[in-house]
């Protein structure tokens, strides 16, 4: 609903002067644009939280900006400070390095800073840190894999875009399967992209005649992996483990699909949590600072209902 | 004229040059001396260009020696030759089209003050140089906006800036009008008096007689005559170049025009031509004279839909609206451009593709191009128009005369009934010229209606049944065959009433 986002920003901008003298506070939210599935979900939850909180707290105004690259995000944040004089900033940095300086400036201007998911390169800037647990995501996935393959087995791994996030997840996964007898035949980057994952999986299938399971590490990649397995008609693969909690995948877990027995969350809704906690802190002066780490949870047919949001785009 | 006058500055001794297995120059000797103008003449393909390129360091000789100031030299780069004061001006200019006149003249020799360019100094120098050449172009004009003659002047100004000791010019007057040629020749004399050695090629033998001190004639890659220019008259030169006696250049006129083919009433071409009215009959050759820039080309381009224009046009009696060149062709009217290298032919393609481009649909059989028919067409064109050169060579590697013949064949393949030919013999040798005149006359005798636009007065007079003279975008007058003399044309073209010697006029 990107068109709606910009509409909202304009509406907020127009109504701002009327409230300027009284106690209205402005919260700026800066996030990356919806360029892949998870980010799309994150955009949805951010928008939804802003709408809900805007209605709930008349004394709060929100400015939401999405950026398609780090420099655009820096511009967005500078504009928020210069033209809207924000009291708090909720930011999911595109990349850590380039955003650290600009966010530090916001902090020095006296505003509250909430950083989401990706930490800045200098510690102690943010008042509040809300993040998913990337090593934990890998660990939970690895533990499930070890439990599902009690006698060990041969697996292949699809990695995301080469980043710290991806490295932390893979390290966590490898630690968790240590000693379980599981052998990783090969790892390649599928870039959190369906088409790339399809291609990589096809080549894995050509290369390895016997594969017991696949850690796709992401639900978008799991879609591509499943497509490749179907096409090849291979029966040796027992299951595919994705990750992040895409609704279609949760649905398949819920429906007891044998190929998708479980999923591991990395909830895009963490942005909503961050915005909500920031809003509460601003309105009530309640002590909300600190680190909030949202753990990754294993989704199984038993608890799948709690993680199924049919209206979310993700 | 003795060797004692002054020492040679640049000399080729028994130079040969091969490209692969083909030897294009054989044992060429040529001597340039300071303060003398040396003309190098020969038919297209005689080896003039290669000779000049070797002298200017563009290509090394395969055998033989290049000597500068009596010392053998072997240029590795053009810059080395330039460093010794040898400049070459190409027929296709060597200018950066997107830069201004001033930037071009100073390209690579910018005057600096500290880190920055000293623009006022360069501006001053540019104006001085252009003034010396009687050239009124602004230093700020982009070269792409200049006429050919102005580009020529910029090239010469560039050479002047570089304190040139040897100036080599490849057909400098081919694109110039008479008055511009007069300016150029005057400048060449000035350079000569200042001690520069000048080598130039030209197909205009009257110029050669007028300005050259020394003369070298080449044919088929060899020097066939060399000596003082005064020893040869124009007729002798032509005979030596062609290797046979030259008969009369022009075929006899017919003077039997048929029905009206083309009528134009009140045509206006924004910025180029005003209120043009003319008519053309079948079997007739209409000459169009005028200075370069008088709107001749633009007028006929507008008639053929190549540029916008407003006016009434009738083709074979029917009123027509022509906005695109293919519409004109569908009505049987084709324009043969003066600019064969950038508008006429695809230089990097072969003869087949070029020959059939204009009439390609005639070679399509059930959707596919019939290559055998194409090949037959080429065989016929080669025979009909005496095109020489390997069938599979790129157009770029053909001589100018052969390119022009191919262009002619290409347009005629579309079987036009009205043919507009712009500068039919620009930059081609005298033997080929004669052939072109014959082709054009033959075409007229078959009933085609023909317009010949030309800057060469002799050509217009010798070829046309009737001559229109244009000046500043208007038709100044019409001369019937018997009235058409150089004098009458020049008077109309210059807009003067009294007879004045054409050569001394400047624009």
């Amino acid at each position: 609903m990107k068109h709606f986002v910009s509409g909202l920003a304009v509406a907020v901008a127009l109504s701002a002067p009327a409230f300027a003298q009284d106690d209205t506070k402005v919260i700026g939210v800066s996030i990356p644009a919806a360029t892949h599935g998870w980010a799309g979900g994150m955009n949805y939850f951010a928008q939804e939280a802003v709408d809900r909180l805007d209605a709930a707290y008349p004394q709060l105004d929100f400015v939401l900006a999405t950026a398609s690259d780090p420099s655009k995000q820096v511009n967005d944040i500078e504009d928020m400070v210069a033209t809207r004089n924000i009291d708090a900033l909720v930011v999911l940095p595109f990349e850590s390095e380039p955003l650290t300086g600009p966010v530090q400036n916001v902090k020095q201007s006296g505003a509250w800073v909430t950083v989401v998911d990706r930490g800045l390169s200098v510690e102690g800037i943010e008042d509040l840190y809300v993040a998913g647990d990337n090593p934990g995501f890998g660990r939970v996935s690895g533990e499930y894999m070890a439990q599902a393959l009690p006698d060990g087995g041969k697996i292949v791994v699809l990695r995301g875009i080469p980043t710290t996030i991806d490295n932390e997840r893979v390290e966590g996964f490898q630690q968790a399967i240590e000693g379980s007898g599981i052998e990783i035949l090969g790892m390649e980057h599928g870039n959190w992209n369906r088409d790339d994952a399809f291609t990589v999986m096809q080549d894995f299938l050509s290369k390895y005649p016997e594969i017991d399971a696949v850690w796709a590490s992401d639900d978008d990649m799991a879609v591509g992996v499943l497509g490749a397995i179907d096409a090849a008609g291979r029966e040796d693969i027992n299951f595919v483990l994705g990750g992040a909690g895409m609704k279609e995948m949760i649905k398949r877990v819920k429906d007891n699909d044998a190929m998708i027995p479980a999923d591991v969350t990395y909830p895009p809704s963490m942005i909503a949590t961050a915005i909500e906690v920031t809003a509460v802190g601003l309105v009530s002066n309640a002590p909300v600072s600190g680190d909030f780490i949202i753990g990754s949870v294993l989704v199984t047919p038993e608890n799948a209902d709690d993680f199924y949001f049919p209206d979310s785009p993700f | 004229m003795g060797d004692v006058v002054n020492q040679p500055v640049l000399e080729l001794r028994r130079v040969s040059r091969s490209f692969g297995p083909i030897e294009v120059l054989h044992d060429v000797d040529i001597v340039l001396r300071p303060g003398r103008v040396h003309a190098l003449i020969g038919e297209n393909g005689a080896g003039k260009s290669t000779t000049m390129k070797i002298m200017a360091g563009y290509q090394p000789p395969s055998q033989g020696e290049v000597e500068f100031d009596g010392q053998p030299v072997r240029f590795q780069t053009i810059a080395e030759a330039e460093g010794l004061g040898i400049s070459m001006i190409h027929q296709e200019f060597n200018l950066a089209e997107q830069l201004t006149v001033e930037q071009n003249i100073f390209l690579g020799r910018e005057i600096r003050r500290g880190l920055l360019l000293d623009k006022p100094a360069m501006r001053r120098r540019t104006r001085e140089l252009l003034a010396r050449l009687d050239c009124s172009v602004s230093p700020d004009r982009r070269v792409s906006d200049l006429s050919n003659s102005d580009k020529q002047m910029v090239e010469i100004a560039k050479a002047l800036l570089r304190d040139t000791r040897v100036l080599i010019m490849d057909e400098p007057t081919a694109v110039l009008t008479r008055s511009e040629t007069a300016v150029l020749l005057r400048q060449v004399r000035a350079l000569k008096e200042a001690g520069t050695a000048v080598l130039f090629t030209s197909h205009k033998l009257d110029e050669v007689s007028e300005i050259a001190d020394d003369l070298t004639i080449m044919r088929d890659g060899r020097v066939v005559w060399s000596g003082p220019a005064a020893e040869m008259d124009e007729h002798d030169m032509a005979t030596a170049m062609v290797g046979r006696e030259m008969s009369d250049l022009f075929a006899p006129k017919l003077g039997q025009p048929g029905d009206l083919a083309l009528e134009v009433r009140n045509l206006n071409v924004a910025g180029h031509a005003t209120d043009i009215s003319l008519s053309l009959r079948q079997g007739e050759i209409l000459g169009v004279a005028g200075l370069i820039g008088s709107g001749r080309t633009e007028t006929f381009e507008a008639i053929c839909g190549l540029r916008p224009g407003q006016g009434d046009i009738r083709v074979f009696g029917k009123p027509v609206q022509i906005d695109q060149p293919w519409q004109a062709q569908a009505l049987g009217m084709c324009y043969l451009t003066e600019d064969r290298k950038t508008r006429g032919l695809l230089l990097d393609k072969g003869m087949h593709e070029n020959l059939t481009l204009q009439a390609l649909e005639r070679f399509v059989d059930r959707g596919r191009i019939d290559r055998a028919a194409e090949d037959d067409a080429l065989t016929r064109a080669i025979a009909d128009f005496d095109i020489r050169g390997h069938r599979d060579s790129l157009i770029r590697n053909l001589s100018g005369g052969n390119q022009q013949k191919l262009l002619f064949a290409k347009v005629l393949l579309a079987e036009p009934r009205i043919v507009i030919i712009d500068e039919p013999t620009r930059g081609i040798d005298i033997g080929t010229k004669q052939q072109m005149y014959e082709f054009i006359r033959n075409l007229a005798s078959q009933g085609q209606a023909i317009v010949v636009i030309s800057s060469e007065m002799q050509e217009v007079i010798g070829l046309a049944d009737r001559v229109l003279v244009m000046r500043q975008g208007r038709i100044m007058g019409e001369l019937q065959d018997e009235e058409a003399s150089e004098d009458a044309i020049v008077r109309l073209a210059m807009g003067v009433v009294q007879t004045t010697p054409a050569e001394e006029k400047t624009v």
């Binding site: 609903m1 990107k2 644009a33 919806a34 360029t35 599935g37 799309g40 955009n43 949805y44 090969g186 790892m187 390649e188 980057h189 992209n193 369906r194 088409d195 399809f198 291609t199 096809q202 080549d203 894995f204 050509s206 290369k207 978008d220 879609v223 497509g227 179907d230 096409a231 993700f314 | 490209f19 083909i22 294009v24 393909g45 005689a46 260009s49 290669t50 695109q324 060149p325 293919w326 084709c334 950038t342 508008r343 006429g344 695809l346 990097d348 481009l357 204009q358 390609l360 649909e361 399509v364 959707g367 596919r368 191009i369 020489r388 050169g389 390997h390 060579s393 590697n397 001589s399 579309a414």
Partner: protein, 328 residues
Amino acid sequence: MNAIIRTDRRLSMTVVGPVLGLIALLVAGALLNPNFLGWDNLTNVLARSAFIGIIAVGMTFVITAGGLDLSVGSMAAFIAGLMILMMNKALPGLGVGIPVVLLGMATALIAGLGAGLLNGLLITRLGIEPFIVTLGSMGIYRSLVTWLADGGTLSLDFTLRSFYQPVYYGGVFGISWPIIVFALVVIIGEIVMRSTAFGRHCAAIGSNDQVARYSSVRVGHVRLMTYAALGMLVGVATIMYVPRLGSASSATGVLWELEAIAAVIIGGTVLKGGFGRVWGTVIGVLILSLIGNILNLTDFVSPYLNGAIQGAIIVLAVVLQRESKADG
């Protein structure tokens, strides 16, 4: 005659260069992994090359005529999104069956043709640089698909997808449809380029559009047709793409335009126009796909360096062709 420089040697190198590159890759692949030359792997590679390949054939014409189209990747994503929406919407009325699939295919072809014509009209009628026009439409289609998908992913109805899937996975005589369609497009493209007036006119325009204009070639019309044909082929590629995974998102078709352009250039078509060959483009596409395939099949280098290897081979393939030009 004056300097007739024979061109045979250079021509032969531009012909042999890409073929040599392809053979070298095939040999390397076979040596590095025994499964490489297996039927399954080769058909996989051919089928996945089909999308870029079909688009690249169209791109060959555009580039040969002196143009460029940067929008094809986004266009494919947009058409895929539109197709899925259309089919999902028509599903309750038409039910799962051939009509709804035909409707989807028609949507793709019409949308592709329309998008191509739009690019072409802006370029030929308004005289805007192709780079700018298609850079603009690239951004437009990319955001349109994101908007259609609400930032997420558009998925084809599951039962419909199962019905439609054979268009990617099925085939005749063990050769899947994408490969067959790709081969047909290539054969037609090669004939059009080599032996029709249209192909000849494209080369003439790309070589020198003034000469073409003065030769009464309908320059604007021919250019327009190259963009329309490319758009149409993007539609064809999308028809093959959608049944594979049954989804479209803003991540669909990213960088396809550059892959297609790279394939065209590797194949020996001249980037500034004037000379093009369709079979060369096919070799270019195969070279690009095989590099990825071989890198996946071996543990030869760090996967982080895949891009570097791909880049080096692209440059090398082009250098090979130019090698003998030095003395030209």
